[in-house]
Amino acid sequence: MSGRFKPAVKTYTRPVTGTWWKENPFFLVYMAREATALFVFIYALVLLSGVISLALGQSTYEAWQALLTTKTSLVFHLVLLGLLAYHTYTWFKVMPKTTPQIDVAPQTIVKTGVLFTAGLSVVIVAVLFGVTR
């Protein structure tokens, strides 16, 4: 950056390595947050493929449904659920840093968010359960 202060002349600049994030547990947690975002994208693709199969006709859609009920798919979904839940948690964890200056403890924001999401999920599952029964 330019400015009125000129940098010292004879300095040594240490290189930033590609593995900087391995050197501190705090950075590992950060990378875990960023990496789990990828799985949100992956699940979006799963849902998208469902929509496409629906557009392609009943037989395709039924094949897609059948695919979902395989053991591999169930394990895949369970793993994805875990990762997505973690990512959702990290999302609320950073939420206090993004709100305006308010008189609410950061932990309260995190807890409220997590509880609200968990509650909403339960409601959605219950509704879906009711509708599909």
Partner: protein
């Protein structure tokens, strides 16, 4: 040698230097200002001031109160014309800081809040929690950025002054990063270099508080005034000397000895009740409280810590909420550095050197060298006398920093442009002396001399003094100066960022300032304020010593000590008394 030409050089980037630089920029935007500091300004020691700054704003207070508290606090060694100017300008400077963004603590209605400090008739201390100096410094530093006229030279160590034809012509500095020597040619120079507390072993001061400005001016013929008056702050952590602000007591903290007894009532600061009461008990002045500690120590009423004896500074009754709101810095410092939580336990404290009341003699910041101005702790403009009142120094730096800036600007406008071969010649000679120090590899280590100096001052020129003790200190400092001249061996002979070299130059200043302190003390044959003797001169002697002392540099020998009358306008010397009967005060 690189030469930088400017109108005014401000030496020191603390509160004084920054306020002076802004004053110059505001009084004449055309003037070029070089703000030269051995650290980046926000590292300056102003940052560590905690308690606050005095300014009369309460309806039940008055400028006369502030004047009288200051003059009696200084045991009538204050120049009363200077004090009058000072008290009249405190509030406007504090308001100015507020307009620049300083986050002064407020009352619920949004007005400025004030707290008690020692020796005060009425609450008068503006405070920003217990980080007042920090906020003042950062406010000034950040505000200074908006003035393009202020060219900053951060981490340039000023090692010499250059004079010609009896007036100041510039300063010689070392660029710390490269070790290059730079001449700043200027029409006026302002010293805002702070105190010299580091000449003592145990002190509240930052490592940079080494009396450089005092040493610079002294060597070039400006006299050092009232140097025997060194303030011991009564409440500091044993060992490190880290300060526990007077604001602790201003908020209602108490001092107890090892038996839990509030011992100050035994030292003319009582009676205990009603409490709290202005100018009594823990709200007494610093000199009296430090002296009381000494007596308790002699009587065996203090307790031992691994780092020295101590008494208790007890805040517990204030409650966690108030402690954390008003005293967050010292709470954290006590927890980290003493392992004590003030909310649940008393803090062990003992006195440590805090402030040099004396400094470069200056009349409204003008020193005896034409073109050389001084303000803040490095100066003696005459407002502190024999003992500074808490809260007066943070206002001093802004009130007199501004005066220094305006006067230096006015002076610079009267000086014609033009450089001089003589100035360059002198600078070259001075530079070669500095480089000779750098090359030396025979002699003693700088730390050896520094530690011996600190111990000698602590022992001989401490809270209580005697002729024999002070004589020993004078002799010891003379010996150390001789050893210094014989050579300091450096491990590091390189130019870039050589802090060993800079420390050696600082030690040179410190030894000379220490010598001025010791000799001024030895020659003052009375007791007054912070200068208290145990020998036959244990009382104040207005007939002989209602006078400022002046130390004149004589080269390798000891300083010549002379005296100068004190300016008295409206307050004739009386007995200085604290404690006694009085009304209970309400802490705000």
């Amino acid at each position: 040698m690189q030469v930088i030409t400017c109108d005014v050089v401000v030496v020191g980037g603390g509160g004084t230097g920054l306020r002076a630089a802004i004053a110059i920029a505001e009084s004449d935007p055309k003037l070029t200002i070089a703000l030269v500091s051995k650290v980046v300004p926000m590292r300056s020691h102003t940052v560590a001031a905690e308690g606050g700054a005095a300014g009369v704003i309460r309806g039940d207070d008055s400028l006369d109160n502030h004047f009288n508290d200051t003059v009696s606090g200084g045991d009538w060694l204050c120049d009363q014309d200077a004090v009058q100017y000072f008290v009249e300008h405190c509030v406007e400077e504090l308001v100015q800081l507020e307009h620049w963004g300083c986050p002064w603590s407020r009352k619920d209605d949004g007005n400025i809040n004030v707290r008690f400090f020692g020796g005060m008739t009425v609450q008068r201390t503006w405070f920003a929690a217990d980080k007042s100096g920090f906020h003042i410094l950062h406010t000034l530093f950040q505000t200074s950025i908006k003035y393009p006229g202020i060219q900053r030279y951060d981490e340039y160590f000023v090692a010499d002054l250059i004079l010609e034809d009896g007036r100041v012509r510039g300063v010689l500095a070392i660029e710390v990063a490269t070790g290059e020597i730079v001449l700043f040619e200027a029409k006026a120079v302002i010293l805002g270099t702070g105190g010299a507390g580091r000449v003592y072993r145990q002190n509240t001061n930052a490592g940079i508080v080494t009396g450089d400005g005092m040493g610079l001016a002294y060597r070039h013929g400006a006299r050092l005034r009232d140097m025997e008056f060194v303030q011991y702050h009564p409440t500091c952590l044993p060992g490190s000397g880290i300060l526990m602000t007077e604001g602790c007591r201003g908020e209602g903290g108490i001092l107890t000895n090892k038996d839990g007894y509030r011992y100050l009532q035994d030292y003319a600061l009582g009676p205990l009740d009603p409490w709290p009461r202005p100018k009594a008990m823990e709200l007494g002045p610093r000199d009296r409280l430090s002296q009381a500690f000494w007596h308790e120590d002699q009587k065996g009423n203090t307790f031992k810590t691994p780092l020295g004896t101590a008494v208790n500074l007890d805040l517990r009754h204030l409650g966690e909420k108030k402690i954390l709101e008003r005293l967050p810095l010292i709470t954290e410092a006590a927890r980290v550095f003493a392992g004590v939580d003030p909310v649940t336990d008393p803090i062990p404290v003992r006195p440590a050197v805090h402030y040099t009341m004396g400094g470069v003699y200056a009349n409204m910041t003008e020193t005896e060298v034409p073109g050389l101005f001084a303000a803040g702790e490095c100066s003696s403009v005459g407002i502190h006398g024999a003992n500074r009142l808490g809260s007066n120094s943070l206002v001093e730096i802004i009130v007199f920093g501004k005066v220094a800036g305006e006067r230096a600007a006015a002076y610079a406008r009267t000086v014609p442009d033009g450089s001089s071969a003589g100035v360059r010649q002198q600078a070259e000679e001075s530079a070669s002396r500095l480089l000779a120090l750098l090359k030396n590899d025979k002699g003693e280590r700088v730390a050896t001399l520094r530690d011996e100096m600190g111990d000698a001052m602590e022992t001989g020129v401490g809270i209580y003094r005697s002729a024999s003790g002070m004589k020993t200190a004078c002799d010891k400092i003379a010996e150390l100066r001789a050893r210094y001249r014989a050579g300091i061996a450096l491990d590091d002979h390189s130019r870039s960022f050589n802090t060993e070299w800079l420390t050696t130059i600082e030690l040179g200043f410190m030894l000379e300032v220490a010598e001025a302190m010791a000799h001024s003390a030895y020659n003052r044959k009375e007791s007054r304020g912070a200068h208290v003797r145990l020998d036959e001169y244990s009382t104040r002697d207005d007939d002989k010593f209602l006078q400022h002392s002046l130390a004149t540099y004589t080269g390798e020998g000891p300083p010549a000590i002379s005296y100068q009358p004190v300016t008295i306008t409206k307050s004739q010397p009386r007995t200085r008394s604290y404690g006694g009967a009085g009304k209970q005060a309400v802490m705000t």
